[in-house]
Symmetry: C2
DNA sequence: GTCTATAGCTGGATAGAC
DNA sequence: GTCTATCCAGCTATAGAC
């Protein structure tokens, strides 16, 4: 593997374990078995490493979400599968979710990318909701109701892992299942009577 | 004002503005117009300052939430007022909400206090939901539905300000109003038909 | 209680040889 | 591309006078 990729891989691992604050460039270099000087040959500074991880994360995420939403079995199943995928994704880059405000507000480039991605996700969920209303799976809703449902669903998926962590619950299948139960509760609230089992 | 209180006041202001990471004990001392040495006379270290702020925050919060939930006008209004109060509270201690995972997971004493407070809030909301079901304001629900509704409501109130911030929306009345709209959406989902206007 | 002065350390980042 | 060596800034925390 290329040195640069190895630095990223190791940095992500350490950031997830101990947070960007406590992980120094020296730690990363040591764990990657290279010299500090070499690390600085590949990256301008620590911030650049974080940004690079973010860009890769964003690309991974876009591909993943597109794949999720293009599949279309039963809408309830799809929602559940989507929730599960998003949690796995969030867990893989958990340091970013933990430090979201600091990282997004601290680096204008990250902020710009993050906002674009945020809007894309909301729009994707929004059109999914529109489709489901049109198909009669969801009950008739006006624009503001649709947006409320879409945003709540996204909001839940976005923060659930963080909530589990600070609530002292382990991030395991049971915890994810609890999140799915909440997203089902949301879904039930907007199901059309005719689509209920 | 006592020097100790002044340190706390200034530290909270700076933490909210720039985050605990970038604010040093020297900054706090300078802003409080005292010497670094004097700061260390009053606090063992920086962590102790953060913890002290947290303890005061917790006390403030308990009092505030108890007051909110003991008032009882129309349940919908009460929910709205509660949401508003919680957002104002979260904003006042916004650094803590931004750095929640790091602060909670990094200091065992903070973690313990936070968990106790988290559970107390969930329980408070839970009994409020029970009451509202019994009174017929909310539709009949079993235990798991009640818990889902209570937890979603709390979850929303807890992360809303954070969500606004990272979404690039200003934390102003309009943003809070958007949050209230989502909590209303949740409430509508569980209102009993007879209680609807 | 408050100050000045400073020890002691850590970590980001660079220079220059290979 | 990679290393060694090192500089420098900035921060925490303490010592000791007042």
């Amino acid at each position: 593997m290329k040195t640069k990729d190895e630095i990223i891989r190791v940095a992500l691992k350490l950031f997830n374990r101990r947070g960007t604050r406590r992980v120094t460039t020296n730690h990363i270099a040591a764990e990657a078995s290279i010299s500090p000087g070499n690390l600085y040959y590949h990256f301008r500074n620590k911030e650049a490493i974080i940004r690079d991880i973010f860009v890769r994360m964003d690309e991974t995420g876009r591909g993943m979400f597109a794949a999720i939403f293009s599949k279309s079995p039963d809408p309830a199943e799809r929602m559940e599968a989507a929730f599960r995928s998003i949690q796995a994704f969030n867990r893989r880059f958990i340091f970013f979710k933990r430090e979201l405000p600091a990282l997004v507000m601290g680096d204008p480039k990250v902020k710009k990318l993050y906002l674009a991605s945020h809007r894309a996700h909301l729009a994707m969920i929004g059109s999914l909701v529109d489709e489901s209303v049109e198909s009669g799976y969801l009950k008739p809703m006006d624009g503001s109701e649709r947006r409320a449902f879409a945003e709540l669903s996204w909001f839940l998926a976005l923060y659930w892992i963080n909530y589990l962590e600070v609530s002292g619950e382990p991030i395991d299948d049971r915890g994810i299942q609890r999140g799915i139960a909440l997203s089902r509760f949301l879904l039930e609230a907007v199901r059309s009577p005719s689509s209920r089992g």
